[in-house]
């Protein structure tokens, strides 16, 4: 879990072009400058590339916060 969060922090920093960005499980779109629908696409694609997994389209549209992304990652990576 901690491992996911630190990887995700790196990805978020790249996508939102902010090297100081900190995130937690509770972080949601409204908390981050520039997290709009376009950046959301880029974010999802970057996470998929990094972990070499695919979210379903439905899933990726419905993530409400970072915690839900981590939950989904845990499920997908533990099943492999």
């Amino acid at each position: 879990m901690q491992h996911f969060l630190s990887d995700l922090t790196k990805i978020f920093r790249t996508v939102f072009q902010n090297p100081l960005l900190e995130i937690s499980k509770e972080t949601k779109a409204a908390d981050i400058d520039g997290w709009d629908s376009l950046q959301h696409f880029i974010l999802i694609l970057s996470i998929e590339k990094h972990f070499n997994i695919k979210f379903t389209t439905e899933e990726s549209r419905n993530f409400l916060n970072v915690g839900q992304i981590i939950d989904s990652l845990e499920k997908k990576l533990n099943h492999q």
Binding site: L38, F41, I42, S46, S60
Partner: protein
């Protein structure tokens, strides 16, 4: 380059780069494409001023005479139409209308382009449509006119036929890009369904690269010369050690890879790229395979210059530049040795030096995918270029035998043909305005359609000059466009191919211009020098020709002009 890497370019400093107005009109989401275009521009030292239409407003922007598009007045218009939208229309059509879908769609596109051309003078970039087979007929679709893939392939072919007649329309061969990239990296259904992006996010940079390639070519930034190494580049092995029987070309070892590379290089030569050899070898040894090996594709007379010696490659390239008279930025240097590549790169950072893959069987595809030889024109003359450069080296050799410059020029028996622009010469003239960097007074680039309208306009006198001598025909080597003003003819364009420098052509041309000015009752010829980083050659041209300076304008009084001495007779 992937999208995120490319996006980092957006925060860099573009302030010294050439500003270019480009409009992007798409019938799908274009935000990632717009960012890719801006980002890729950095790699070409362009700063795009980009107009991006609202989502799916192509027809509205084009049809409404007062649209923002026309206010913006773009120099380039990228019409990003998608197969996905066509597909939707196609499925709605009854069967018999499906069979004419390609023609009907072409008509719609022709109509859009006509509207654009009526309103503004812009170069239009249009991708060919993705050739999607929906497999409703399986492979049999290739024989069924009512099938989607049949109509899409037909439409693309019709578009190519149509584009031949439209000098300001440039098609992007998108289906080839998709094929090279592979479907999984070309499309992303998630992005398409949720955001109406028709491509994978990392495919937009690839499209952007090709848009930049076309724009660069239209601005005269083109590669003119390919310099190749021999050992392990044009054949496998080392001729000096392995000998002619053991080098890999044709049937031997992985020779097929080198044969195919040579075939491609020959195609480049046939379309007008100058070839040169630059190899650390003894000349005789290096030439032997070209003369004696049955399976060599390239032969000695395919090369304008053959430099095989023990000098450093940097020295050889410097020499090559002095003979061919072209800029370093128009050269490509291909060599398997990282040492030589680095040496050339460090001496001449402007030369394009592809970092070849390790395995020679990958060379060809790798080089092809770089799309180094983009062009926006092609004329008959291109095919003869190598011969002309070879004749030039014969001239250089004969020059040594004369004691004076005049004697040499006289011996050439030069004849020059002078005539107004016509339909045969227009493509070559447009190309000259786009390619000439050095002997170019004002460096105004004209497209074929621009040259056409200048030719038919009463406001201009436009002349082309073709030169031949006892060694051969140089073809059309100069163009002059004079704009009529009261009493005065203004040198809007005065360009000359660098192949014929130092032959006194400029004096011959001025003699002709003055005669014409006098006949038509103009008292003055005026001119202007607009400095660029490359046209220092003509900085003093107007002074040398006898013009006198008044502010930034140079003037010559036709009445008191004494014809200059030349060794060129009118043909």
């Amino acid at each position: 380059m992937d999208f995120l890497t490319l996006r980092q370019n957006l925060t860099k400093d573009f302030s010294d780069f050439k500003r270019i107005k480009i409009a992007l009109l798409g019938d799908s989401s274009t935000q990632f494409l717009a960012q890719s275009l801006r980002g890729y521009a950095y790699e070409y030292q362009f700063a795009f001023e980009l107009f991006e239409s609202e989502y799916n407003q192509v027809e509205q922007e084009i049809s409404s005479p007062n649209s923002e598009l026309y206010h913006f007045s773009p120099v380039y218009l990228f019409l990003f139409l998608s197969t996905q939208k066509l597909q939707k229309d196609f499925y709605k059509k009854p069967g018999d209308e499906k069979t004419t879908f390609a023609e009907d769609t072409l008509k719609k596109i022709e109509h859009l382009l006509a509207l654009i051309n009526a309103k503004t003078n812009t170069k239009i970039l249009l991708p060919l449509f993705s050739e999607i087979n929906d497999y409703s007929f399986g492979n049999f679709a290739t024989k069924v006119e009512q099938s989607l893939i049949y109509q899409l392939k037909k439409l693309n072919f019709l578009l190519m036929e149509f584009a031949k007649k439209c000098p300001n329309l440039f098609l992007i061969d998108l289906p080839s890009l998709e094929r090279e990239t592979g479907d999984s990296l070309t499309r992303d259904k998630k992005l398409y369904i949720s955001g109406d992006f028709i491509y994978h996010i990392d495919f937009f940079p690839i499209i952007a690269k090709h848009v930049c390639d076309i724009i660069a070519a239209s601005l005269g930034k083109i590669k003119k010369c390919l310099i190749v190494d021999l050992d392990n580049t044009l054949w496998g092995g080392i001729i000096g050690e392995d000998g002619i029987e053991r080098i890999q070309i044709g049937g031997l070892g992985i020779g097929k890879a080198f044969t195919e590379l040579q075939q491609w290089i020959l195609e480049l030569k046939n379309r007008g790229i100058i070839l040169a050899v630059c190899s650390k070898n003894d000349e005789d040894t290096a030439k032997e395979p070209f003369q004696k090996h049955q399976e060599m594709v390239l032969r000695l007379d395919d090369f304008a210059l053959f430099l095989a010696n023990r000098n450093s490659k940097a020295e050889n390239i410097k020499y090559l530049k002095s003979v061919l008279n072209i800029g370093f930025d128009s050269m490509v240097f291909v060599d398997d040795s990282p040492f030589e590549r680095n040496l050339v790169k460090s001496h001449f950072p402007e030369i394009c030096v592809p970092e070849l893959p390790e395995d020679p069987v990958e060379y060809l595809t790798f080089l092809q995918k770089l799309n180094l030889f983009e062009t926006t024109s092609y004329s008959e003359e291109d095919q003869n270029r190598t011969k002309q450069y070879q004749q030039e080296s014969q001239r250089t050799a004969s020059q040594m035998t004369f004691s004076s410059e005049d004697e040499y020029l006289e011996s050439l028996e030069m004849k020059c043909n002078v005539k107004p622009f016509d339909s045969f010469t227009i493509p070559r003239i447009a190309q000259l305005t786009q390619r000439s960097n050095q002997f170019n007074l004002r460096t105004i680039r004209y497209s074929e359609s621009d040259i056409k309208s200048i030719t038919s306009s009463d406001e201009y006198i436009a002349l082309s000059f073709s030169l031949k001598d006892k060694f051969g025909d140089n073809g059309l080597i100069s163009a002059v466009i004079l704009k009529k003003e009261t009493e005065t003819l203004f040198l809007d364009t005065f360009i000359m191919s660098c192949r014929v420098l130092r032959r006194g052509v400029e004096f011959f041309i001025l003699n002709q211009l003055c005669k014409i000015a006098e006949e038509k009752g103009f008292a003055y010829i005026t001119g202007e020098y607009i400095q660029t980083s490359k046209n220092g050659l003509v900085k003093n041209l107007l002074a040398d020709l006898g013009f006198t300076q008044k502010n930034d304008i140079w003037q010559l009084a036709v009445g008191s002009y004494m014809p200059n001495k030349t060794f060129i007779s009118k043909d």
